[in-house]
């Protein structure tokens, strides 16, 4: 890899001169023969030769070089049967729109059969990235400069270190300067130079740690000790970060459990209905998201946001259908509702299988939800889960408001306390039942929308969560939303804390057994409903 970089350097100088040249005179396009030759060199089988060809392209002062390399990196640089090199603009389906690699003019659609892509492997991918990074170091675009600076960590060799010094000096962007300094420091530390070690003290970047590790067993005792000390400090830092990370994992798993369970907490806790189809209502929410993304191709973000209300509506409507169609006939027979709704869950699953497909569906994660929020080099929090966590809390708060502050909430509580009394006070109990169940189901739909960002969107989505959600509700105390929240989050954290040493399976088992025993001790959960109401 270093080899490519040094070579990259040479071209870099050329490039910069080329740029300055362009500044004065009109761009002198080198004849396409040369370009064609450069590209043809790529169309070989051996990856080593391809490596050479890439270097050649770098060294050429052709300003299309970067585009070619990028296309090569993306696997969009291909050769048509007639020998022309083309850039594939969209490689989905069987016929692809392409453009000429040299002239950039569109050549319409071409069949896969007539195209040979110029394959690369991870080694070349690395080479290309580094090369592009070096080029980008001089790019006017600050983002490119930053990413290239990040890229160079641990990739610096003596030669490059020299050239970087002035770049650091001139770099006006702090991030770029910081990264490049680190990059050089890493190189120096690996060389066993004190300066490097000092510069790296407290840096949490893994490359820095590796470098210090090497420095720690350098023959110079002073350097070695300094490195060892630095490492010790870093290890401390890492421990803390690891703890925070586990906590975050726990919370995020917990938030999923809460989302899945909170709807049950309403239908089960408030109405006393054991809705085994709850999981399938979540599944419907997830499929709504998928549907939305199909309807709005190209803007997954918008689709996702729209599918929040949509998912709620769909699930709520199905919920109402279930309530009217089945549950209303099973008043006060919770065990029967369990069986009936279980049947419904089977039907819904099979419905999805036959109507849509037994295969999982692709739900795209929008840009702003993918990747992670970097706290420091050792701790970064995945964005999608952070959004889900936030979403869960918002949903919870919303439900609390509805239950505490609205007319519906009041009526719901009245009906659950004493049906007959509520009736006589003119509350339409049936209507309340419908609303409650619709609400619970709708929330399940919301959970589904969130889950579509974390896991499979397939017919079995629901089954994987139903038991866990019941556990959460029972553990938290039936009919108590706070209980559900606390139970969900704490179970999530317990699980994630156990996992590293117990393993995923055992952790899950331990949690289940723990809940079973807990229910024996406190049959009504963490926050039991008090008074006579609970007796019923």
């Amino acid at each position: 890899m270093r080899r490519f970089l040094s070579l990259g350097l040479l071209c870099l100088v050329l490039l910069s001169t080329a740029m300055t040249a362009q500044a004065q005179s009109d761009p002198s396009t080198p004849d396409d023969q040369a370009a064609l030759a450069l590209l043809s060199a790529l169309d070989v089988n051996s990856y080593r030769d391809k490596g050479e060809a890439i270097t050649a392209i770098l060294q050429s002062d052709d300003e299309r070089a970067r585009d070619w390399l990028q296309a090569l990196l993306d696997g969009r640089l291909q050769r048509a049967d007639d020998g022309r090199f083309v850039l594939v603009l969209d490689n989905r389906g069987r016929d692809w729109p392409v453009a000429d690699a040299l002239t950039k003019e569109s050549l319409g659609d071409m069949s896969r059969r007539d195209l040979d892509r110029i394959g690369i492997n991870n080694a070349l991918r690395n080479q290309l990235r580094s090369a592009i990074a070096v080029v980008d170091l001089y790019s006017p675009n600050v983002e490119r400069r930053r990413s290239s600076a990040d890229r160079l960590l641990g990739e610096v060799d003596g030669e490059l270190a020299e050239t970087l010094e002035p770049v650091i000096a001139e770099a006006e962007d702090d991030h770029v300067r910081m990264r490049l300094t680190q990059a050089v420091a890493i190189y120096r530390a690996e060389q066993g130079e004190m300066a490097g070690v000092e510069a790296l003290t407290g840096s949490l970047h893994p490359r820095a740690r590796v470098a210090l590790g090497r420095a720690a067993n350098s023959d110079d005792p002073i350097v070695a000790d300094a490195a060892a000390a630095a490492l010790a400090g870093i290890e401390q830092q890492l421990k803390i970060n690891r703890g925070l990370e586990t906590l975050y994992f726990g919370l995020s798993l917990g938030s999923v459990l809460v989302l899945a369970a909170i709807g049950l907490a309403i239908t089960f806790g408030v109405m006393g209905v054991i809705n085994m189809a709850h999981g399938e209502l979540m599944m419907l929410g997830a499929y709504t998201t998928w549907m939305m993304q199909q309807l709005l191709p190209g803007q997954p973000g918008l689709a996702l946001i729209l599918s929040i209300p949509a998912g709620f509506m769909v699930a709520a409507l199905v919920g109402i259908a279930i309530e009217r169609g089945v549950i209303q006939f099973l008043k006060g027979r919770p065990l029967e509702t369990l069986l009936a709704t279980f049947g419904i869950s089977l039907i819904l699953q099979q419905l999805v299988r036959t109507v849509i497909s037994p295969l999982n569906r692709t739900v795209v994660t929008p840009e702003w939800m993918s990747g992670s929020l970097v706290i420091n080099d050792a701790l970064s929090l995945t964005l999608n889960r952070m959004y889900v966590l936030g979403f869960a809390l918002v949903v919870f708060a919303g439900l609390m408001l509805i239950m505490r502050r609205t007319r519906l909430g009041l009526e719901v509580r009245a009906v659950t306390q004493n049906r007959a009394m509520a009736r006589s006070m003119g509350i339409r109990a049936t209507r309340v039942d419908i609303m409650t169940f619709a609400l619970g189901s709708g929330v399940a739909g919301l959970a589904g929308v969130a889950l579509s960002q974390l896991t499979n969107v397939g017919p079995n989505l629901g089954q994987n969560y139903i038991i866990d959600s019941f556990m959460v509700v029972v553990f938290g105390g039936v009919g108590n939303l706070w209980g559900t929240l606390v139970a969900g989050l704490s179970l999530g954290i317990i699980n994630q804390v156990l996992e590293p040493w117990a393993g995923a399976v055992l952790a899950k088992i331990i949690v289940l057994v723990f809940i079973i025993l807990f229910i024996q001790k406190r049959p009504r959960g963490l926050f039991p409903q008090k008074g006579r109401a609970a007796e019923g």
């Binding site: 696997g75 990747g371 896991t455 399976v505």
Partner: protein, 450 residues
């Protein structure tokens, strides 16, 4: 209450009796007797409902397609082929029951079926007892060779071993995380790989990380961050994934979100094919690897024809093909060839005839049926592309013959399988020259003596 019941009993029970008898009669009358001019019956034993339907239903369609094509080409021995489809519903005991139904009741001439190892294990005794033919199209853990089963999927030495060699020689990986779902295929494969890495490449204990997760595991945060730390020690690291089915989507999502790039820590998967990818947004996964014996992106006309036929058969422009489908393609043609060769569909005749039969595969080469009932396959390494396809970056210079018994497991090191006369043995022990079992027996006696 009791009084009521007593009153109603006689009638109720007599109905119950009639029901039972009716059942008996139906069961009995259901069985047909095969005549010579009847169509040749091809049993298809793939789950069409339940959790495995995702993977298996396409295989059922594949076999049906192959049968159609065969019939259009005039059938076999002048007889038409007829598919007999049953649904074992992803339920292992039901697999055994259905297999029995196919063989005892429907009296099919051959069965194409099964995906999971457990379903194969469940069916095995039935097929052996009733002397049927089973073509098993999925890559599996090996350690088995039955007289009545033909393994057209990859054995570990046709997938795992070459893949690891690619990682070591071409990518220069020095550190391996073996991540798998907790069932027999990953367990065995990983044990083989561990032994292989240590013995053949001197990889140190601490450079190998092994982790197992339950089926459909959906929360990968911890494990992925473990992998990340494992890879931060300065040595080039790769993940060898034997994660099964549904668990893959959340796994790859988590990888992408925790920013593990294929260029830093490539993941090479043995159970992720085009079909699994069709459920994932592959853009963040570009460059991750998979090892198979076939990829949809294979650039041969045979393959393009197969794909076109498949898309036509399913009527779905987006339909993808994958490795087990090719395995059925090969298996079916081998069986057809063997039937022609034997001039009959009689199981014993076909069993003898099929050994040595060679048919073209879809990647431009040929597959031959070995005496151990495994076949020769090329091994391809593909990199995930952003269009859900694999780009083939490496392949074995020649085809590799499937190995029923791994050379890296103490129990089976000295076992071989050869179903030709005179040996006709699935677990022949080359050390004590007897059929049946390894030297493990003696070892165990020694162990007990202690």
């Amino acid at each position: 209450m009791t009084t009521l019941q007593r009153k109603t009993h006689p009638r109720t029970l007599s109905r119950f009796a009639t029901a039972l008898i009716a059942a008996a009669v139906m069961g009995a009358s259901a069985q047909a007797v095969a005549q010579e001019d009847d169509p040749i019956k091809v049993g298809i034993l793939h789950s069409l409902s339940g959790t495995m339907a995702i993977s298996e239903s396409t295989l059922k369609d594949t076999v049906e397609m192959l049968i159609e094509q065969q019939n259009e080409a005039g059938g076999l021995l002048g007889r038409q082929l007829e598919a007999v489809v049953v649904d074992p519903a992803s339920n292992w005991p039901l697999f055994a029951e259905r297999a029995r139904e196919l063989l005892a009741q429907e009296e099919v001439d051959v069965i194409f079926g099964n995906w999971t190892s457990v379903s194969r294990k469940a069916v095995l005794p039935v097929v052996e007892e009733l002397n049927g033919l089973l073509f098993y199209p999925v890559q599996y853990e090996g350690e088995e060779s039955s007289e009545n089963v033909f393994y057209t999927g990859a054995a570990p030495n046709q997938q795992a071993i070459p893949a690891v060699e690619y990682l070591i020689n071409e990518v220069g990986i020095e550190r391996f995380a073996l991540i798998g779902t907790d069932y027999v295929y990953p367990r065995t494969t990983n044990r083989i790989l561990e032994a292989f890495l240590k013995d053949e490449h001197g990889v140190a204990e601490e450079d190998i990380m092994v982790n197992y997760t339950p089926f459909g595991h959906s929360d990968w945060q911890n494990i992925v961050s473990e992998i990340r730390r494992f890879g931060e020690e300065g040595k080039p690291t790769a993940v060898i994934s034997t994660i099964n089915g549904d668990a893959n989507v959340p796994f790859y999502r988590e990888l992408a979100n925790q920013g593990i790039d294929a260029a830093d820590i490539p993941v090479i998967a043995f159970s992720v094919g085009e079909q699994e990818l069709s459920g994932i947004d592959t853009a963040p996964l570009v460059g991750h690897l998979a090892a198979w014996n076939y990829f949809m992106s294979v650039d041969t006309d045979a393959n393009y024809d197969f794909i076109d036929a498949w898309i036509e058969h399913t009527g779905d422009e987006e339909a993808v093909t994958n490795d087990p489908m090719e395995a059925h393609y090969i298996g079916f043609n081998m069986w057809a060839e063997a039937v022609r060769k034997a001039g009959t569909t009689d199981v014993d005749a076909v069993k003898d005839a099929i050994i040595g039969v060679t048919v073209p595969n879809l990647s431009g080469g040929y597959a031959a049926m070995m005496p151990n009932h495994h076949i020769t396959k090329p091994v391809l390494i593909g990199e995930v592309q952003d269009n859900g396809q694999f780009d083939i970056v490496w392949q074995t210079p020649s085809t590799v013959a499937g190995d029923a018994w791994s050379d890296y497991l103490p129990g089976s090191r000295d076992l071989i399988a050869d179903w030709r006369k005179p040996m006709e043995c699935g677990n022949f022990n080359v050390v004590n020259g007897s059929c049946g079992g390894s030297t493990a027996a003696e070892e165990a006696e020694a162990a007990l003596a202690e």
